[in-house]
Symmetry: C2
Subunit: 576 residues, 2 copies
Amino acid sequence: MKWIIRVNTRTGNISKQEASNEEMRWGGRLLISKFLLREVPPTCDPLGRHNKLIFAPGLLGDTSVTTTGKFSVGGKSPLTHGVKESDVGGEAGKKIARLGIKAVVIEDIPEKAGTKVLTIGGDQITLSEIPELKGKFVSETIRFLRKRFGREVGIICIGPAGEMKMAGAGVAVSDANDIQVRYAARGGLGAVMGSKGIKAIVVDDSEAVAPQVFDEPLLREVSKDLVQAILEDPKTENRHKLGTPAILMMANELGLLPTRNFREGQFEKAEAICGERIVEVIAERGGDGRSGTPCLRGCVISCSNVFPDPSGKKTVASIQYENITLLGPNCGIGDLDDIAELNQLCNEVGVDTIETGAAIGVAMEAGIIPFGDAEGAKDLIRQIGRGTHLGRILGNGVVITGRVLGVRRVPAIKGQAIPGYDPRALKGNGVTYVTSPMGADHTAGNAFETAKTVDPIGRDNQVENSRRLQIRAAILDTMGLCLFTRPPFVKNPNLFALFLKGRYGWNVTYEDVQKIGLDVLETEREFNRRAGVSEEFFDIPEFMREESLPPRNSVYDLSMEEMQQVWEVKIPNSVF
Amino acid sequence: MKWIIRVNTRTGNISKQEASNEEMRWGGRLLISKFLLREVPPTCDPLGRHNKLIFAPGLLGDTSVTTTGKFSVGGKSPLTHGVKESDVGGEAGKKIARLGIKAVVIEDIPEKAGTKVLTIGGDQITLSEIPELKGKFVSETIRFLRKRFGREVGIICIGPAGEMKMAGAGVAVSDANDIQVRYAARGGLGAVMGSKGIKAIVVDDSEAVAPQVFDEPLLREVSKDLVQAILEDPKTENRHKLGTPAILMMANELGLLPTRNFREGQFEKAEAICGERIVEVIAERGGDGRSGTPCLRGCVISCSNVFPDPSGKKTVASIQYENITLLGPNCGIGDLDDIAELNQLCNEVGVDTIETGAAIGVAMEAGIIPFGDAEGAKDLIRQIGRGTHLGRILGNGVVITGRVLGVRRVPAIKGQAIPGYDPRALKGNGVTYVTSPMGADHTAGNAFETAKTVDPIGRDNQVENSRRLQIRAAILDTMGLCLFTRPPFVKNPNLFALFLKGRYGWNVTYEDVQKIGLDVLETEREFNRRAGVSEEFFDIPEFMREESLPPRNSVYDLSMEEMQQVWEVKIPNSVF
């Protein structure tokens, strides 16, 4: 038996209903898309009464399978004005799943602004006003909630940016020891949470009951296979040691590293900020510094890190590829300590580092501060936290920043900032950014991993490749599996079916699992179609079709017509 | 023979081509819609290379028929992201028409920002850089251009807001004596002009040749009939004496006067700012003050005015209903001198009074300044002119202002501010705002004139009425006729056919003229459909469906489905 929790932020009503048979087939990103299409008027104001904020563990979220603690946060996005699912690690998702909860649906908006905390326990769910938390940074919020609710609860919260309903705001989730904070960063879901007056959600799974698993031995066996396969994969060690920044030097070599507001694809200080250098610095400085830490308990990859300042004290955890790229090279900033501090400031005020780094890049292009001005950039993020006029502009993301400051070179698609892969030099990602229902989002289907098999600046195979990657991402996001578990599934796609058999007893084939991925995408596309934000209306930014990107000097040259075929091409035999 | 002038702002190329037979059938708003659909990629960046800014006199623009000097300015709107036609009086349009020009099409954007002036004469068209004009207010710009080009030229220009590409910027046109400035205000076309680096257009018609008219006696006769009918119409005298503010007291009585960010429909100080009071003040103060002045030579209605300060010196010309309403009651401001000054400040920095008044109302709702703070409001408009961060927010219109300042009660539809008729108390305008390809725009079909025959807060007949009014507006905007010539055409719709017969020799019936109106709307809708901004995606603001509007306490209750029928209902026998 699984539960759907609904919290009405206007009336204060909280309900707990049993999930229907149909809902039992949904999880994570699939559930988000189904609920949104069923319940949220697609043209509604994303920060208004009719939008809903949904938290949903993946289908495997309540198992002990490794990395399945990723959970989905979703709603209509104030950035893209379409469907948004953003998934995140940390501890809270696993706890929600262990409580037998399929989804927490936050509805309506309060008549008066407030600073409420939703506490979810085994048999009690309450919504209470905690005015002391108003305007508090994320770390302060977590500290406060720890004091009140203890060490074992899972915590989800927003920073001041979310409270101020800035469309660049994300939803933060703490890890087991509050060392690192993870973000459901993209799409402005922090603003949706803020619009509903919810500052934080506290999850107490102390009364959780183990789920009824259909075939425990099978699940255990497949789980072992997965762990084994992950550990054997050559990428895993690299990810464990270097984390996501492992790819920075290759991104730089491929000339796709966004540099100075996407003017160049290589950064002259790349070596000073790459994964290898981070590991060295962490080792040199000692103290709080760590490489290879997990974002959630039981992850065998453990790609996170704790980046310390010169004295060994933690600056930020975890510093990652996208954060480095958008806050670093994209702003002309090449000092790791500066980037770590910028990253931490984003985490504290509660904004997406990608959206914010891109917005700062545009502000630099507008001449607000010069490229490379790290102290100026820090001040800008602090201004977001304080809600100054300029801070509010930037906090609302790169498109608003470009419009308000009169800049034409705005790296965004469908209202959302382009992440750390310039589509001129990685054209498969251009296809994903344009055609994904999520807008510019690398996690929706990142062609970086196939850069060796599909020529990144060629025109061949980009559409088919993006399609394959997008379907795969949709499946993983529905399972609650981290995207880094791709390699074992590439080798043995049938693993998915075995997991679903073991957990639920479903007799599904690999083809059925593919259909789950397609169902996600089609449901999301239908929501977007009704919202007026179908993919055919949002091309690559015009400047990327005009300006060639040094050093490879490519422009983006896949036409809209070509890219739209992504949803028409025949399903390939394997999406992996 | 008629000409299409094309000016490429990147290459500096200027071409003059003969209009094709097909183009000869187009004028004003119809021409704008046809050109945009034919030449502008609907999903393009409105401030980018692919948008075009088009100036087009109406079909009767080159005749001496009264009020036909209204001309159309168009392009893809940076506010609505759809098709935009904004028509305007003043002298320049008539001069463009007299030169035999069907359209001036400004293309591409310059590689480097500049402050260029386009001069259009009988046989010479030139584009020259005049750096002294950079950042100049509208009146300074006009004064400068007069000195250089003389008293007889027509002048079109933008203020600093347009130069800074603010989406609330309009295009200004001077009258014969530079006493009043008229605006193609809506939709942000001033920003499009700014994006193209064009500060002003100067039109010298001294070498104009009279057009070859098909049947001069017929045209003269029909023209006389029109003048006669206008003069006999009971509304004309009122309009001449009181101008557009004539309706303010009735709007207040009907409870549809936007007050304090559309919170109320009646303003306690309405009597102090109504048309009758304006006439009294003008008469009392003397000096520059005038009532019943024309915005273009030869207009028999002459609904404009010159509003003086207590010493008799002109504050603004002309002060009009929308300006008063949005800058006055909507901001809680009830002093005519304050409102006149706010209006003049908008005219100087070059922003739409409706968009700006609505944005200030939202800023007041956000607590930036209190409602009723006239000095604060003046400062905000000055900040738009200076391009401060807050000024840039406001100058980009009410939707951006609401998003950046975190306000949910934003009176806008399809990105554009709602004008001076709250749709909760004038539901026909709600239908127009939602379904017009122009977004919230009263000139696209204003049900105020039918408030006596169609119950403004009832649900009956609103859709049919809006349809009728929208088709009629499209015809008038295509002819180049002021909307105030409606009454004679209501009495004798065949006048249109006679005008077209006299001017061009077209054998058209009244039904054919109706089809012209429908052709305009269908062409515009097709552009919007391809741009992703079809009417089905933009409802009335949510708060207007929730909050009842005092004193009549109505909410907006026509459903989207009902409103969408506007384009499906059978063409009524008469659109007049």
